[in-house]
Subunit: 168 residues, 2 copies
DNA sequence: GACAATTGTTGTCGTCAACAACAATCTTTC
DNA sequence: GAAAGATTGTTGTTGACGACAACAATTGTC
């Protein structure tokens, strides 16, 4: 991870206003964003939408969405976790996780096992088919990740991961 | 914008599995993410949630959400745009923009003016109070942006903007 | 043993992306 | 210049998702 990455276009012309009122520039996408350029949130939002769309499309053949993938990955790496623990780790609300697990359990990828230590909680495990399915999901996710590299470049992707490492 | 930014923690211990089955590590957040670390989408998603929450909170006193702010900004910088043009520029669906504008028009920040050139479309303008309100929104948005700098650092924020410039 | 906290669950609400359909209005094409 | 097709704004539906609130069962604490 050297430096010297992170250059793209030479900036899309700062433009302010457009002079005449009802001009005829609505057709092209030559519309100034003004203050929006320079807002990290806007750029991040647009990128996040793009990246999720690509993920959903790339994992479309197996019908797995990003959140489902994150749940399966965490359970696969930490078998026996409670729902509360998974929810907290992924920043999902436990109410939301209930539905996610309902769906994944119906598809026989995950099973909830009543914990004997704490009879309130469920120990989450992948099923046998769940394990093999997750392996395939990971291959497809790696393909998606290659799309990201094609889009922003290898170095920029790694920079991004470093910058945002504190949020994972 | 030199280089040498983008370092954070020395990585949170790669850990794989945890050995024993129903261990007692559900309480702390020392849970491995396995394949999730290394996925740009996951990091971006978490960051985007954080940044939106801060934006919503910082602009809470004026009750303006990120999407509303982006719409106002674009209209303010390009008066007379049609709804279609704004939607296309911001990557919003025109169906969604209808409700956004309904709300902003009720609050007297924006007005739809029937275009004489194309009687199907509306020319969008800020009202007088809309102009002054937007000025205040921009000040608050700048404050939010300072929070981002506090969180990830000045250099990393600029790196981020450069990396993602192609998506704006 | 009484009381507070936790876990999974159910439900509601609001935001948002993705579609589909429609009437009014251009634009194209013959 | 009339018919066919495309565009604009609108309405509606669906589903994923975050945020809350409430609840029963269970555990922990004092």
């Amino acid at each position: 991870m050297t430096a010297s990455a992170a250059r793209t276009e030479p900036r899309p012309s700062p433009r302010k206003r457009a002079g005449n009122g009802a001009a005829r520039r609505t057709d092209a996408d030559e519309i100034g964003l003004d203050a929006l350029v320079g807002h990290a949130g806007y750029a991040v939002r647009r990128f996040q939408i793009w990246i999720f769309q690509d993920f959903i499309k790339t994992l479309g053949e197996v019908d797995i969405r990003p959140t489902q993938y994150s749940v399966l990955t965490v359970i696969g790496a930490n078998p026996g976790l409670s729902q509360m623990a998974v929810a907290k780790r992924l920043g999902i609300e436990r109410a939301r996780l209930v539905h996610l697990l309902d769906s994944l359990e119906q598809r026989k990828l995950v099973k909830r096992i009543k914990s004997k230590a704490d009879r309130r909680s469920h120990a989450l495990h992948l099923t046998a088919p769940g394990e093999t399915a997750l392996a395939k999901f990971k291959r497809l996710a790696a393909e998606h990740e290659r799309h990201v590299v094609e889009k922003i470049g290898k170095e920029n992707r790694e920079l991004l991961l470093q910058i945002l490492a504190g949020f994972t």
